[in-house]
């Protein structure tokens, strides 16, 4: 009975945090987010070489460290705290998807940091798990994929895409390399610290990675929700810290503003939601690693952590006052990260609605029509 991080987790957290103090300092983040690619290949190489982050949640047989989502969650929490600009979530998700599907060669490549990868599942105007309009057609030289994907994380820079496409037999997952037949177009989103692209596949050569998309995709999305939740906890924690530090320091009316109950109680409420988010994210990662109630835990973590991050980021600004709304202060970057993160995979409302069916309140046909 031990529901808390082990000492190895704390060690991992510390080493990542120390590393990111440099690689993802505020000035590094601002430089990277304004760069063309949106992240620094140099920093990324160091993260891969020195910390071996992409290999963390990869079985040892593929050259990984044999960790799970709990360990990867620790790292993503730190990435969230610092707003690290790097293809860590995108590549991490591609790896987790490939672990469910393809052979280990690509996993090893990604885990070693030699290439980056990403998921290309969502299509314009549709949900992540809608039946894809993108089509895969078998030919003499293997499969060809045609269609457009949206909200592809780091899509402009990724080397490898895990793409969902419809085949005559149903939805399957394919592996597509950047290059011929693949065109990425950056989307300007609210969040400058996370790059997203629209990716057009035009008869792009593809390898079948997993035939049973209908089973694989929900599982991959649960993993994505759990890892994003871990990142959101980091965002929320850091915002709470920033607000607390400022409240201790900022003097108004002859007192630190943190001595006023209005500020105290606001931050206590944030703390409460941060504690809830921490618990939910940790449990979901644990549940995924142990094969417990993953779908439910992921939905709870998704809803809880999304809202906690936005709450913390918003209250951080409110506590800072005007200065928190300036470009020069990092508070707005956290707000932007939290805003996109909250809706990126599923709106909290949709996470919540998904809880009810397993809990015994399925939506009936009549209810469906109400949506």
């Amino acid at each position: 009975m031990r529901f808390r991080y082990d000492p190895e987790h704390e060690d991992l957290r510390e080493s990542v945090r120390a590393f990111l103090t440099d690689v993802a300092s505020e000035s590094a983040v601002r430089r990277d987010m304004e760069s063309d690619r949106g992240w620094s290949p140099r920093s990324w190489s160091r993260l891969c070489a020195e910390l071996e982050l992409p290999a963390l949640a990869v079985p040892e047989k593929y050259g990984g460290a044999g960790g799970g989502l709990v360990e990867l969650g620790v790292v993503l929490g730190e990435a969230g705290r610092s707003l690290l600009c790097a293809p860590l979530l995108s590549t991490g998700l591609a790896i987790q998807a490939l672990l469910l599907t393809a052979s280990g060669d690509e996993v090893a490549e990604l885990a070693a940091g030699r290439r980056t990868g990403t998921l290309a599942l969502r299509e314009p105007g549709r949900d992540w798990d809608a039946v894809p309009r993108t089509r895969a057609v078998p030919g003499s030289n293997g499969w060809r994929i045609t269609g457009t994907k949206n909200w592809v994380l780091d899509g402009s820079s990724a080397d490898l895409f895990v793409v969902s496409a419809s085949t005559p037999a149903g939805t399957s997952l394919f592996l597509v390399e950047s290059g011929g037949g693949v065109k990425a177009e950056a989307i300007e989103t609210v969040d400058p610290t996370r790059r997203v692209a629209r990716v057009m596949f035009d008869a792009a050569p593809a390898t079948l990675a997993g035939a049973d998309g209908a089973t694989l995709i929900p599982s991959i999305l649960d993993t994505a929700v759990i890892l994003l939740a871990a990142e959101q906890v980091g965002v929320a924690e850091r915002c709470l810290e920033m607000a607390t530090e400022y409240a201790r320091r900022r003097i108004q009316f002859g007192r630190p503003i943190g001595s006023f109950q209005a500020v105290k109680h606001k931050l206590a409420d944030v703390l409460l939601e941060v504690e809830a988010a921490r618990s939910a994210a940790l449990y979901a990662a644990y549940a995924a690693d142990r094969g417990l109630d993953v779908a439910e835990a992921a939905a709870i973590a998704g809803a809880t952590c999304s809202d906690a991050a936005l709450l913390a980021a918003g209250e951080n600004i409110q506590v800072h006052g005007g200065i928190g709304m300036t470009w020069e202060h990092p508070a707005h970057l956290y707000l932007k990260r939290a805003t996109v993160g909250r809706m990126l995979l599923r709106h909290p409302h949709d996470h919540l609605e998904r809880l009810l069916e397993p809990a015994g309140l399925p939506r009936t046909a009549a209810g469906e029509r109400g949506r």
């Binding site: 009975m1 001595s259 109680h265 209810g367």
Partner: protein, 410 residues
């Protein structure tokens, strides 16, 4: 990280299940399912005797005081099983304030004499102790207690008044926070005293609750007496002793709260179905939010239990837990009223038989009287055992390290 319980605890859990299977009537569905409030109370009285007979009270206490010498985790497994079966831990509130709170406190701070005199009697039910902390002028500000005790020869003589004393009308004694050194600043001058209730210097008057029930009392002391040895800790230690005691209140709750709140939420789901509101998307969002919060309570409970297992005392996690469940309960009971609509405000069905928090497991989901009682309990829930405002202060000052407010004139 590992949520599994060790094998010895799993074995003990099996034993508990076997006892329950033997002792409970056929078709048992929880105390809430018993037809009337009166029968429920009678059953619980009897059930308490059964628990004692089967050695299920004080399992984590040393053998010499009537316990079984098992671990805290055994006790947790026990209350989990009881709660899942819709059974209370003994009789409430006496066994909560007595066995759980006073008993564990004596194990930690009591003299050998106190332990021998009181612990076995707590288990047998011969002694029932209630808690005397709050006063009319010391609610949120517990350190401003004014009930005072002075040593006269071999006895403490106590004057003053306590309030919100749960179960005082059926208790045999009260453990009270009293001022023994009027010169010492605030909480420094407090002591923790054990005072028998059956004496001329004590007057117990029930307080009528907004529901109409009388679960709480005022206790008046007019030169009430207790032997000099009935102090727990040294004079002036009262604040420390009381603080530790309060954490016992929260310890097991970490395990049982999620079970109770989950059972209540299941009843609410059923109510929504019966009222035809389960397809209303607005109601669904609230139900789902409640479901997520109850699960988070379970996760928070794991964290608190882990802390306890790791040998630590319950610290600020208990403030997180208290604020989380009490605010949740306000929300979910308001939802219950909303789901029922106007007709739910016409009172029908069995009353809630548990005085605080949720109704008993097995309660009828269609009893509007139960939901109404529980919604009032939920309002009390953000007040008793430290208001939400006090909990937020604790979190802000002790966890976040925000500066205390300036004291007037300081």
């Amino acid at each position: 990280m590992d949520l599994d319980y060790p094998p010895q605890v799993a074995e003990f859990r099996a034993e508990v299940r076997a006892v329950l299977a033997e002792e409970l009537p056929d078709g048992w569905a929880g105390t809430g399912a018993i037809a009337t409030a009166e029968e429920t109370r009678a059953f619980v009285r009897e059930w308490r005797r059964t628990m004692y007979r089967r050695g299920l009270l004080g399992v984590a206490w040393p053998l010499e005081y009537g316990g079984r010498g098992l671990t805290m985790l055994h006790q947790v497994a026990l209350v989990e099983e009881l709660t899942r079966a819709g059974l209370p831990f003994g009789e409430q509130p006496a066994d909560s304030t007595g066995v759980k709170m006073l008993g564990n406190t004596l194990l930690r701070f009591g003299t050998e004499e106190q332990k021998r005199a009181i612990l076995p009697a707590l288990l047998s039910g011969e002694q029932r102790w209630c808690q005397g902390f709050s006063e009319p002028g010391a609610g949120s500000d517990l350190a401003s207690v004014t009930t005072r005790a002075r040593l006269e020869g071999e006895e403490w003589v106590v004057d003053g008044q306590k309030t919100w004393t749960s179960g005082a009308h059926t208790a045999t004694g009260i453990f009270a926070l009293v001022r023994t050194d009027p010169a010492a600043p605030r909480h420094r001058g407090l002591s923790f005293l054990l005072i028998p209730l059956d004496q001329p210097g004590v007057d117990v008057r029930p307080i009528r609750h907004a529901t109409g029930g009388t679960d709480f009392c005022e206790v008046f002391f007019d030169a009430a007496r207790t032997p000099a040895g009935m102090i727990v800790g040294r004079p002036g230690d009262g604040w420390t002793v009381a603080s530790v005691l309060l954490t016992f209140e929260r310890g097991e709750e970490a395990a049982t709260n999620p079970i109770h709140f989950r059972a209540e939420l299941d009843r609410l789901f059923e109510l929504a179905r019966r009222k035809g509101r389960d397809q209303d998307p607005v109601i669904r969002q609230w139900l789902a939010r409640a479901r997520a919060r109850v699960e988070v309570m379970r996760y928070l409970g794991y964290r608190i239990l882990s802390d306890v297992m790791a040998g630590g005392e319950l610290g600020h996690a208990s403030s997180v837990s208290k604020l989380y469940w009490s605010e949740y309960h306000r929300e979910v009971t308001e939802l219950a009223l909303d789901i029922q609509g106007l007709d739910g405000l016409a009172l029908t069905g069995k009353e809630a038989t548990r005085p605080l928090r949720t109704d008993d497991p097995g309660a009828d989901p269609s009893s509007s009287r139960s939901w109404w009682n529980v919604s009032l309990n939920a309002r009390a829930g953000t007040i008793y055992a430290g208001t939400s405002e006090i909990q937020r202060n604790i979190l802000a000052e002790r966890v976040l390290g925000l500066p205390r407010e300036p004291r007037p004139g300081s």
